[in-house]
Amino acid sequence: MLDLLAHYLIPRPSNNHKAKLIHTSSLVILIAIFIGLQGLFQFITPKAGSILGYAANINPIEIERLTNIERQNNGLSPLTDNPSLDAAALAKGRDMLAKGYWAHVAPDGTQPWAFFTAVHYDYRYAGENLARDFTNPQSAVNAWMASPSHRENILNSKYKEIGVGVVEGSLDGVDTTIIVQFFGTKLQDSIPTQPLAAAKTVNPSPIPSSSPSPTNSPSPIPIIAQASPPSNKTLLAGNVISPFDATKYLSISLVGILILVVAIDGFLINRRKIFRIAGHYQAHIAFLGMIMILVLIAKAGKII
């Protein structure tokens, strides 16, 4: 057993003075196994129920609080929570799960602004940020702030109100958590400085657009009590294994072992002054080390 282990990890005559694990043929097999495991994750995820997925503990109120902290840090007034916007954001999240899409515009062409008007929120300015698969509110807000277009939405002085909806469900066969952040300014809250017809393009990206309200006489905004988002809900079961974490730990293990074996192999070959036809082990260590850094700094969560 020890002999076999040494054959795979240490350069010696039995492996032609190169650790068997880093022979080209072995590396090809490792790649095939890694891809096979990824395929297995993909295959078992939809059938695994609550085994594989993205567990999260996202509190919509916390998202709003962190958003307002960012605004205040940048000298802007905090946004006010609007229950209608909360309801609209929740409806957008549920629509994404029901229709199975991850985009600002639904496959049937439904624009984000349709959810504003559905709750009778007559807006002058409106914007939307989306996030999924984040494990906590802070990481989602950090990701938005790192993206210029999402940051622009959060720090837009034209917005006065905010609504956040957090939904859980299956998207592409994976249990996930989606955060929908809606920004808005009611028609009656703004003082038009120009004709409404000319106020169409104020605010681009990521879908932060603004357009005039469809009506000049805004109707009162009804409060939809049952549509208020959960205030303090733990989403998904606590024993869910994230496909991201599984891939991350697998990658760290594989790259770590390879770096170790290449380093030991290079050290022993140098010390024994053995000449062999091979690539430079220092270069391989540098490249694999960089891959290790990328894997370590990678974080779960997507934003659009």
Binding site: T24, K248, I291, V295, I297, A298
Partner: protein, 84 residues
């Protein structure tokens, strides 16, 4: 590593550092991260070949070795980005 090889390694260090910095700065853009990891893997493969051509010791085994090491990095990088 001889002193005269250092300039070659500086170019490799530049490629790897640019990739790592780009990965951090554009953490919000998964497509850009995918482009980065692809470019880095290809660059590493090309760097290995050019390096051994300059040293006049390029063999087919060495080409395959750099190819599979670059492929491992690419597959792992893409998988992590895809799952994130």
């Amino acid at each position: 590593m001889r002193a005269k090889h250092l300039s070659h390694y500086f170019s490799l260090a530049g490629i790897l550092m640019a990739t790592a910095i780009g990965f951090i700065v554009f953490s919000y853009d998964k497509n850009f991260q995918l482009a980065l990891i692809s470019s880095c893997s290809i660059s590493y493969f090309v760097w290995g070949i050019v390096h051994h051509i300059i040293h006049k010791d390029l063999k087919l085994e060495i080409i395959f070795e750099y190819l599979v090491v670059a492929a491992i990095g690419f597959v792992i990088g893409v998988s992590v980005i895809f799952r994130s």
